[in-house]
């Protein structure tokens, strides 16, 4: 497993519900969203079975932090080889649930 943690600048999140989204299975991932004691940054912890793709992860996660008001959230990811598009969709889904826009 390859593991790394990024702290990314982001606008403070409005709502901060703890939520789990997605399942760890081939080509898929789970995202655990939790509140943490920061305001203007989010912390993203990645654990992935696909080694050597940190650059792509950073690009996808930077886009996420820019597009979503996720300051004050910690996102923990368990990944089993999801493609960047799947990661991006799953992060958006997790964010929507955590901010109470989806069930």
């Amino acid at each position: 497993m390859e593991k790394f943690t990024l702290t990314l600048k982001s606008v403070p999140a409005k709502s901060r519900r703890t939520t789990l989204c997605g399942v760890v299975s081939s080509g898929n991932l789970e995202v655990l969203v939790e509140p943490i004691g920061m305001e203007d940054a989010c912390e993203i912890e990645v654990s992935t079975s696909a080694h050597g793709f940190r650059d792509i992860w950073e690009a996808v996660l930077n886009d996420f932090a820019k597009e979503h008001e996720s300051g004050g959230l910690r996102l923990s990811i368990n990944d089993a080889g999801a493609t960047p598009a799947v990661v991006s969709l799953r992060l958006s889904q997790a964010f929507e649930i955590a901010s109470g826009d989806a069930p």
Partner: protein, 292 residues
Amino acid sequence: MSYFEASARTRIRGLVDAGTFEEFCPPEMRQTSPHLARLNAPLSFDDGVAVGRARLSGHAILIAAQEGRFNGGSVGEVHGAKIRGLLDRALAERPSAVLLLIDSGGVRLHEANAGLIAISEIMRALLSVQAAGIPVFALVGGSCGAFGGMGIVTRLCNEVIMSEQGRLSLSGPEVIETVKGVEEFDSRDRALVWRVTGGKLRRAQGDATRLVEDSIPAFRNAAAELMERYRVHSLPEKSLTDLLADQERLACRNMQFSNARDGQEVWDATLSDSTHVPELSSEEFNQRLLER
């Protein structure tokens, strides 16, 4: 909504009364598998099972749901301990029933002995819960079915609610084919696999006590109805005579079908009309079973 396609957590949400699920050992506690970590394999924050308390049609229940998509719903040390802990808790909380949403190929092979011990602990805990007069229901309708040790756990339950899509057996089709050869069982013949292990066969044989459509509300209604029945007629204690009668019935069944090669032969013997069985809705199937 399809029960088969739903995740473990979606199944719980759809089954229980809205907003009543309270999870024990939730994902944020990160009770993950130490064995998978040592093997450097992907972890899941809930180790593939969600457990907790809730209400169903107002009845207090304890509920566990296995996630079939994480390592085939397999039972590792932590996964098993969560289910066993839930059953132990039933002795203290005395819920109306314990619901096990089983979706598992059995023991997690990565965890070998720890997984086997976990399964045997689940079995022992389940028997204690039943001995205390609390019924345990198995719900089987996921893609992994109920195999290996979880197949045995399923058959220990007081009620087994299945959909046609659910499967119940001991050795999985691929295992049988590997050990005994493709002439014995062709695991790629999906229609055969379902005729031999699927919900309609299990209901005809009496292993499943209810056959329902593949929808979360159908599973919910069946569970609610059974819970109401157990409220009125509390769990009967089984005497030695009852157990011997059960054993006799199973021995007869074994004799009757020992040469059967296909589920169709069981349907021929148990249904009023055994034509086009795979195409029947669960309601039509239940009707034919009743007419016999």
